[in-house]
Amino acid sequence: MQHINFILSLADSNLILSQRNAEWCGHGPVLEQDIAITNITLDLLGQARNFYQYAARLINETGNMPGHIATEDSLAYRRTEREFKNILLCELPKGDWAQTVLRQYFYSAFCKGLYFQLLQSQDQSLAAIAEKSLKEVNYHVRWSGEWVIRLGDGTAESKQRIKQALQFLWPYTGEMFMPADFENNNGIDLASIKKQWLLDVQTILEEATLQMPAEHIFMQSGGKSGTHTEHMGYILAEMQYLQRMYPDANW
């Protein structure tokens, strides 16, 4: 079950961030970037689906829930906010473009380290999903990193905005590296991912002419264990509404 929960947490983080980024579709700052963020939205959704489909297969194999077949949709649409295991960072509002690109950078740089380790996982299916996702994540890191630099070293206004985003988002970055129950003894070395992540962030922030925030501040957490922000209920209410309203329908 721990292993399944771990996979679900990966699925949930990707889905919820995809849901947030999707809010940009049709509202981006310029058409080319509307397309770019929507691309990332689609990639994250695709990754979420791969993780959900795999988790559903494992759940069905355990046979713990007779008469109930788990699917990607039952997992995405029929669990409550207390069951979702995404990190808080992913559920925060999209904010302005600065907040969106910086959050994407923080998250994608983390995924890069995580998926890289998953390549070595004894679970072949998980390693295969990680391998497929890594190609996309590398692009997400590059795209979002370039935007962080551009905004930091752009105009006075863009610098002010990215600074604000940094201040707002930073306390939500620690959760990525705090192991949840289901992350104990699963072969993932979060400490080493964190080390590399901090180096990567520092490099990007320096190039963006921004100050690295203090590392040892109080970090928000709870997402992985289902204690979310107040945003989460609204995200699910919107996302799950049709499945909840018409429980017998197929779409």
Partner: protein
Amino acid sequence: MTTIHPLEINFQDKIDQEAKIEPKDWMPDAYRKTNLRQISQHAHSEVVGMLPEGNWITRAPSLKRKAILIAKVQDEAGHGLYLYCAAETLGQSREQMIDDLHSGKAKYSSIFNYPTLTWADMGAIGWLVDGAAILNQVMLCRTSYGPYARAMVRICKEESFHQRQGFETLLVLSKGTEEQKAMCQDAINRWWWPSLMMFGPKDSESTNSDQSMKWKIKRKSNDELRQNFVDMIAEQIKLLGMTLPDSHLKWNEQRGSYDFGEINWDEFWNVVKGNGPCNKERIDARRKAHEEGAWVREAALAYADKKNKIKTVSAA
């Protein structure tokens, strides 16, 4: 008697011989203007058209449907981009075109001024709205202005895919629960007439048609295309087991076509003039995105300038 300029005779010859007109070729002012108006209007339609469908992305009822919908709306952004580029070859900047959209000077397809109220609207838009658009676009693949024709070839491939997806979305609903069937029929009822309006005024009322036909900007009249559409949809709807909301719809053996009822032209002209249910909302949303994105575009420019200066200095 007006004399026809030799260049214009040459230009018309080219068109008559089915040669494409390219950006650097001589063209009458009115040809340039008509194309610019039409291509930019088409580009705006793609971009504004992202809004009614984008409205359902966060609420799509399954992950697969969500992925399909996001990809579709993203395709529309891509189409907008090709079309803005095609229009720019006629000498107007994208920025100017966008300003004209926001000021109301430039138009976009009125269909997007109708609201998307239920999930079934995603199917109805794909099937009916994209279906109507395709008939127009297939014709435009052979339009006389080269960059426009080439953009349309790319766009048509994706659009026909969208139409099939839309139909399939409705097909699933039509075989679903009673509530889903009702949702499906309701969406068809609401989108049918606005879809017919997409072909524009009747030929007898259309001011731009004759010249556009002569210049082969368009090759079929509004009424011809509309009839093709009715004939296509009246057959396809049988597969859904749904009905079209037109009591006059009837196969006419003699014409080999369907007869259909009269469009509410009063509604048509009102939506064109800005009085549709969502005209204001759509333009406000586009304007807001553009205004809120201004600082982002400025930052990107400022950064690019800095980098270019550094390059210039180090190259010196």
